[in-house]
Amino acid sequence: MIAELGLAALWLAAALAALQLVSGALGLTERGAVLGGAVRPVAVVQGGLALLAFACLIYVFSVTDLSVKLVALNSHSMKPLVFKIAGAWGNHEGSMLLWVTVMGLGGAFVALVEKRLPERTMLATLAGQAFVSLGFYAFLLFASNPFERLSPVPMEGNGLNPLLQDLGLAFHPPTLYLGYVGLSIAFSFAIGALVTREVGPAFAKAMRPWVLGAWIFLTVGITAGSYWAYYELGWGGWWFWDPVENASLMPWLAATALLHSCGVLAARNALRAWTIMLGVVAFSMSMIGTFLVRSGILTSVHAFAVDPQRGTFILALLAIYIGGALVLFGLRAATVTEGERFAFVSREGALVVNNVMLSAILGIVLFGTLYPLFAEAMGAKVSVGPPYFNPMSALFAVPMLVVLMVGPLLRWRRDKFGRVGRELVIPAMLIVAAGICVLVLGGVALLPWIGLALSVGLGWASLLPLKGRNLRRTPLPIWGMVVAHFGIAVALFGMSSESAFSVEKLVAVRMGEVTQVGPWGVKLDTVEPVAGPNWTAMEARLLVRYGIDGKVTRMLPQSRSFWAPPQQTSESALLTRWNGQLYAVLGGEAPKVDGEKQSRWQLRLWWKPFAPLIWIGGLLIALGGLLALVGRVAADVRRIVAKDKIAYRREKQGR
């Protein structure tokens, strides 16, 4: 019953999306103007219905209604409740339903609160949003119905992939999806602006909070995903350039560029066509990412069941939306008038460098991700990994970070290096000093060396925009910028330090034996079996000590065996200190060598100096975005309130 209700809600939402598209498009014409009034309410109801459908899916998962095929395939009655609920989006159909739900809610939210732009632009925007939603509704209803019933009803479900049975992961996909799909709003704004030719500062100011919101979620999602991969996979790395990771990184790169070009458009009315283009590209990257992940065309831990029909369907959607948007852009770009001029040495100039470099990195990542597909079409099986991605993206990231030190200090329109040069003496000296220090320590590869030196200078330079300001009166968006840029320095330091100074140790040890990894002494105390709700495990008790006279601490890495579905995972144990993280993984029992009595256990240990800064930096970047968002929205609200007051007074006086 609930499943049918969900399906009905989904069909209704799809129908309303069609209505929203038609009435939005007709509302732009003179004769259909009366239909325009229906668009906003329809958008709100459509979002509500999508949410209802998603709530129904969560309900059938939480009660483990096995007559629903999706539940039977992906859930199990013995699973903890939180993972039952998370299971609702831990599969193809559910995640696509989450996608349209977020999209519908995004559209509803825009329809409710966005009143700054001319109504015509809003109609075009909401029609664009409906157009995109419609394709995904069709995809859900025709190619991946989440509410399909199963007969006969099975006795028990298949269970959820144990790798996904983790709290961090339960909330990682929804966060990322809010980001991916939030960019659809930027896409729709771009379409709306192109249709009505209203590209200007007002448009950029209206679009910016939405882009910021999506970007914050993307940043948090990527950071959380990276941390999940780090501790759950047990491989000791935090970024693998896996296609799915790239699929989340590409929209982030595009959204970061969009955010900065939006700033230029809002403040200086320049980079008009470019901003529109980025709006289209950012959401296109979200869709390409979804295509790559969901079509099963690239194998990855994240790829769900492979289904060629679905791949073709998403490919068709991609062609329609990206192709259509690019054609519209091609037709209208010439009519977008030139923006304001600026000199090369200016805030705008620095932001152009930022944009071009981010786009270049985006191109590098996109190329590397798609290359195995092209190669396979030519008959060669290849994979592309860190040896390609790391140096190639650094080639463009390093100049960008250098400009990042200078850019925020420059004035809009025209400036001279001489004016800001003096302030940059300290960061430059810091870079040189850090570079020499690391060189003296020795044994560090080129990229981490550059990263370490640069991060120190960048950390200082990123705080310079606050110099000479009254900190209490500094507007929130400035704080946001400073915090986010400082976060980049922090994350860069963590990444470089992790790859420069990590120590790894792989040993087979007997009980009571002590092994050294970096400054740590690690003693294997016991290995005992333990049991959880749907798994059993071997758990090692490690007694670890930092230095010679440090406090002894316990660590409990596990090697878990799940039974539904049967799979083994290793639960790593982490011990965080202010200067780094000790990472322990328990392997299997090593086969006994002749004449040996006591068994030996495999241990893989890492000492990773300052590794947690990677994720702290990521969160700082997101926090910066949040501060900017709060600042912008608060300013908008104040402006609206003031406007209303003036209008109210005028009305009174008029009487």
């Binding site: 790829a303 923006g339 001029r341 071009v356 470099m357 994979s383 190639m392 329109r413 792989l506 040993v507």
Partner: protein
């Protein structure tokens, strides 16, 4: 204001310059990417291919095949394993230091990431085994269709 007006660049020209700069950087990035991909992409081999045309030593490649029955040995240190990967036509000795994936057993399929050593031994730094029903390394999927049956019969 005055300085901007004096600037010799017209609005249209500025747009052109920006466009050209962006295009040059992006095309440069694309060319670099193409060049780097040719050098850095790691090719997939099956044992008969890698024996016939070995890649240059030190180049990162992947080797896929079946773990030969009876070939799996653990060295005295307890963490280094040696085994042979074969595809029915040829066999390649592989050495790997690390914790093996849980579904890695003799007779099962494996994809090893690593380098060919000078002595004809493949030095793996990562092993991918079949994780679960939903995750099979892509090459292994194709391979198992073509060769798995034959290999299984031969290794039995």
């Amino acid at each position: 204001m005055a300085t901007v007006a004096k600037s010799p660049i017209k609005a249209k020209h500025q747009r052109l310059v920006l466009l050209i700069v962006a295009l040059v950087v992006l095309i440069g990035a694309a060319l670099l990417a193409a060049w780097a991909l040719r050098n850095q992409a790691s090719y997939f081999y099956v044992p008969s291919e890698i024996v016939a045309r070995p890649p240059e030593p030190g180049r990162a490649v992947r080797l896929g095949g079946m773990v030969e029955k009876g070939s799996l040995k653990t060295a005295a240190d307890g963490v280094t394993i040696n085994f042979a990967v074969q595809d029915g036509k040829a066999r390649v000795p592989v050495t790997f230091k690390g914790i093996v994936p849980s579904l890695f057993v003799e007779g099962s399929g494996v994809v090893a990431e690593g380098k060919m050593g000078t002595d004809g031994t493949f030095v793996a730094d990562n092993l991918l085994a079949k994780h679960d029903e939903n995750y099979v390394p892509r090459e292994m999927q194709d391979m198992s269709r073509e060769q798995a049956q034959k290999v299984m019969q031969e290794t039995k």
